[in-house]
């Protein structure tokens, strides 16, 4: 009964399975590696939808109601600018005085039904806390699930490498001849590479000279990487200082569309060019396995993005906050522009690299079609999502933009990949890399939270606009509210005194430490037990072999050697089928369920 209703629920949920047909086609032609990018994109999109609903319901709608119901809204001038198409690109102008940005939101109470007040100040902060908490729980949960599945269950990284490669390596969903041939060659390459690598490990005796050369090159390349990071940070800072902020401060010296867009364009170009330098460096560094090369490249790429974003955040909070009148709206606009320019660059990449390569390959046979760079594209997704988290507090309608952007990217990439790309020859550990991507997403989420937290707790909000214009920091709203409660209610006062006392806090820390120690001990003991069980299995196998040998010796010559115990279902099937003389086929499911009932300790 329970299974039946669960099954029905599953069928209903499947109806909402977004883009299922597209994913099937991609999987059939390219295998799981390329499909993993699209699945990741779908997951990020689905995560953004609840965030959008939260901000829409709790922030945008009350603000719209405020606009229409309040008789004399204070501090709100009508929208003086008109909507021209260019606002979609720059995000300022008409959009500055709409619900798009922080600066438009009121600090008053919205009263639609008389007597019920909706306090915008508290709503803004609490909604912010709400969606960050939601993302934290979702990301933490999926990261832990992924980690558990692929690292802990597998019991270590290299243990079952060959077995996994050969006996689980074939993707049964492949439908096209080209993909099949490519999969075969990629398995062959991986086998050869790995055998060569393990042979080298066994026989290598590197001379001192070679080791020194290798290490000096590694140090040199890391020095180059660090200097590139510093240079890109400096460039970002200079461009922001010279061009972007000038439009806000002084309209005469800036060019209307180019100046605000200069910083995002420079940022995206750096992100396009510098990884190529990284790839060049890695080609010359001697890595023992190609996957280490991939991991190092991903780390360097993410470090580059993180550096540039950190410089930007510093610039916004230190320089822009002190110079500009309504700096939060400016930050929101900057992030909006970053998102749009990122979208344009992604589309251009699809157009130029993939489409162009295909055209070239049609004309000149030597140029091959482009491969779909799954790793690079997934990292771009992580970057764009972290922009969204960074900008949520300053631009509540940003999730809409990001959702539309993701939908556009999905369709463009899906058609581009099928028309223009060829399957990659390099082997791809889809499972392990998924854990790494979710890990990066989680890291960037934490960094964005820290940055926004910094802005909320420490930076003074602008006095001209926004819900917090009369406060020293945005967080002061909460502390004021707590003070009010404490003053009005003795119980609350006592409660807060107790919580913030040193005794309570140290007690909590000691408790956490004890829980940590306990779980660690349990984990160690489980590991010991697993080792013991493995030894036990080996020795039982030896016993079995010994007994079988004895049995063979005793048996009379000529008798048939008895079969080893066969698979469970096969035996059950043989047991059932003679009994069922009439009637047709015995289906697998009925046998499996019968066997399950018969032996509940399986």
């Amino acid at each position: 009964m329970w299974k039946h209703s669960k099954y029905q629920l599953h069928k209903v949920v499947n109806v909402f399975d977004l883009w299922r047909s597209h994913l099937t086609i991609i999987e059939g032609c390219f295998g799981t590696s390329v499909a993993s990018y699209f699945i990741f994109l779908k997951w990020v999109l689905l995560m953004n939808i609840p965030i959008f609903m939260l901000t829409f319901a709790f922030l945008v709608i009350p603000q719209i109601l405020y606009r229409y119901y309040q008789a004399e809204p204070t501090g709100y001038g009508g929208n003086t600018e008109s909507f021209t198409g260019i606002e979609l690109l720059t995000g300022s102008g008409f959009f500055k005085s709409t619900e798009m940005y922080y600066g438009f939101y009121t600090n008053e109470d919205v009263e639609v039904v008389s007597g019920l007040f909706y306090k915008m100040k508290y709503a803004y902060l609490l909604t912010c806390g709400g969606y960050y908490l939601f993302c934290l729980i979702l990301l933490g949960y999926s990261y832990l699930k992924s980690y558990r599945k692929y690292y802990i269950d597998a019991g270590g990284t290299m243990c079952l490498y060959y077995f996994n490669l050969l006996l689980c390596g074939w993707d049964y969903g492949i439908k096209s001849q080209e993909a099949s041939v490519l999969k075969q060659s990629s398995i062959f390459q991986e086998i050869k590479e790995y055998l060569a690598g393990s042979k080298m490990l066994q026989t290598s005796k590197e001379t001192g000279h070679k080791i020194a050369k290798k290490w000096s090159f590694t140090i040199l390349s890391w020095a180059i990487v660090l200097s590139l990071l510093a240079a890109s940070g400096f460039i970002t800072y200079t461009v922001s200082n010279e061009l972007s902020i000038k439009t806000e401060l002084d309209n005469s010296t800036s060019i209307p569309v180019i100046s605000p867009l200069a910083m995002p364009v420079v940022l995206s170009s750096i992100q396009l060019v510098v990884p190529m330098i990284f790839t060049f460096l890695e080609a010359h560094e001697d890595y023992s396995q190609p996957k280490y090369e991939l991991y190092v490249h991903m780390f360097r790429d993410m470090a580059l993005k993180a550096t540039m974003l950190a410089v930007l955040v510093y610039f916004w909070f230190e320089i822009a906050a002190s110079k500009l009148e309504c700096w939060e709206t400016y930050v929101g606009e900057e992030i909006y522009r970053l998102v749009i320019v990122d979208l344009i660059f992604t589309l251009c990449y699809s157009l130029f690299r993939e489409f162009f390569c295909k055209l070239c390959s049609l004309k000149w046979k030597t140029i091959k079609k482009a491969e779909f760079a799954t790793g690079r594209h997934t990292l771009e997704l992580v970057y764009s999502q972290s922009l969204c988290w960074l900008g949520l507090f300053y631009s509540p309608l940003l999730p809409v933009v990001v959702i539309l952007k993701l939908i556009v990217i999905f369709y463009v990439k899906r058609f581009s990949v099928v028309q223009n790309c060829r399957p990659s020859l390099k082997p791809w550990r889809a499972s392990r890399t998924h854990t790494i991507f979710v890990g990066y997403l989680f890291t960037f989420f934490i960094l964005s939270c820290v940055a926004v937290g910094f802005g909320i707790f420490l930076i003074k909000p602008s006095t001209a606009c926004g819900p917090y214009k009369d406060y020293k920091t945005a967080y002061q709203v909460v502390t004021d509210a707590i003070e009010n409660w404490k003053a009005s209610n003795d119980v609350v006062n006592e409660f807060f005194k107790f919580i913030s006392s040193p005794g309570f806090i140290s007690g909590l820390l000691i408790l956490l430490g004890m829980i940590l120690y306990y779980t660690r001990t349990v984990m160690l003991s489980h590991r010991e037990r697993v080792q013991q069980f493995k030894l036990q299995l080996a020795s039982e196998g030896k016993d079995k072999k010994f007994l079988m040998n004895l049995l063979n010796q005793v048996r009379v010559r000529g008798r048939r050697v008895s079969k080893q115990p066969g698979p469970m279902l096969h035996k059950t099937m043989e047991a059932i089928s003679p009994a069922q003389s009439a009637g047709g086929k015995v289906f697998v499911k009925s046998v499996a369920e019968g066997a399950l009932i018969a032996s509940p300790n399986s």
């Binding site: 099937t24 999987e27 059939g28 799981t32 269950d153 597998a154 019991g155 243990c159 079952l160 490498y161 060959y162 077995f163 996994n164 050969l166 006996l167 689980c168 390596g169 074939w170 993707d171 049964y172 969903g173 492949i174 439908k175 096209s176 001849q177 993909a179 099949s180 041939v181 075969q184 060659s185 398995i187 062959f188 086998i191 050869k192 055998l195 889809a430 499972s431 493995k534 299995l537 080996a538 039982e540 196998g541 030896k542 079995k544 072999k545 079969k563 080893q564 115990p565 066969g566 698979p567 469970m568 279902l569 096969h570 047709g584 086929k585 289906f587 697998v588 499911k589 499996a592 399986s602």
Partner: protein
């Protein structure tokens, strides 16, 4: 879709649904695919047994290096597949089949000589089929087989029994995902 719906009665569809891991819609879809392999023969008699050569025309099987072995395992009579055999095969390869069923059938697919053990010769067959046109040399092949046995053979009898196979494959995270046909 309307044409194939009239081929089965509601009762038959219900039975098939209980007996396999597929939904009614998927069963009809499977029948459509079975019919497309040999439209004339299936139209005449829906319980016809199609020869192996026709079954391996199916796109997923056509490019699969283990197609002959898969057909052999799922065919109830050994020389062809009826619709019910075909349905059973698609059921095991569907998303709804539990892991232990898939593991069981993966074992039987990789056990080429049918002795319920995966021995060196079975592994050699698997490797040859997997690498396709590019063939490994003798030394590499031996090394590879030795490595696999070292990883998976727990009782050191130089063959993989079903228990060992199941134990090792339950740790492979990609197995369930790769051992299926997409509908």
């Amino acid at each position: 879709m309307g044409g194939s719906q009239s081929v089965f009665t509601e009762e038959e569809l219900d039975d098939y649904q209980t007996l396999t891991y597929l939904s009614k819609k998927e069963i009809l879809h499977v029948f459509k695919r079975f019919k497309s392999l040999a439209p004339g023969l299936v139209e005449a008699n829906k319980n016809v047994k199609l020869p192996m050569s026709k079954i391996t025309e199916m796109p997923e099987l056509k490019v699969n290096p283990f197609r002959d072995q898969i057909c052999k395992v799922f065919s109830s009579s050994g020389d062809g597949m009826t619709f019910e055999d075909f349905l059973d095969m698609m059921s095991v390869f569907s998303d709804g089949a539990p892991k232990n069923v898939k593991v069981e059938y993966a074992f039987r697919v990789y056990d080429f000589d049918g002795d319920d053990l995966i021995s060196d010769s079975d592994l050699q067959n698997v490797i040859e089929k997997l690498t396709g046109a590019n063939q490994l040399n003798e030394a590499d092949m031996q090394q590879l087989i030795e490595n696999i046995m070292e990883e998976a053979d727990l009782d050191d009898d130089k063959t993989l029994s079903f228990a060992e196979f199941e134990h090792v494959i339950s740790k492979a995270p990609d197995f369930v995902n790769s051992f299926r046909f997409r509908m």
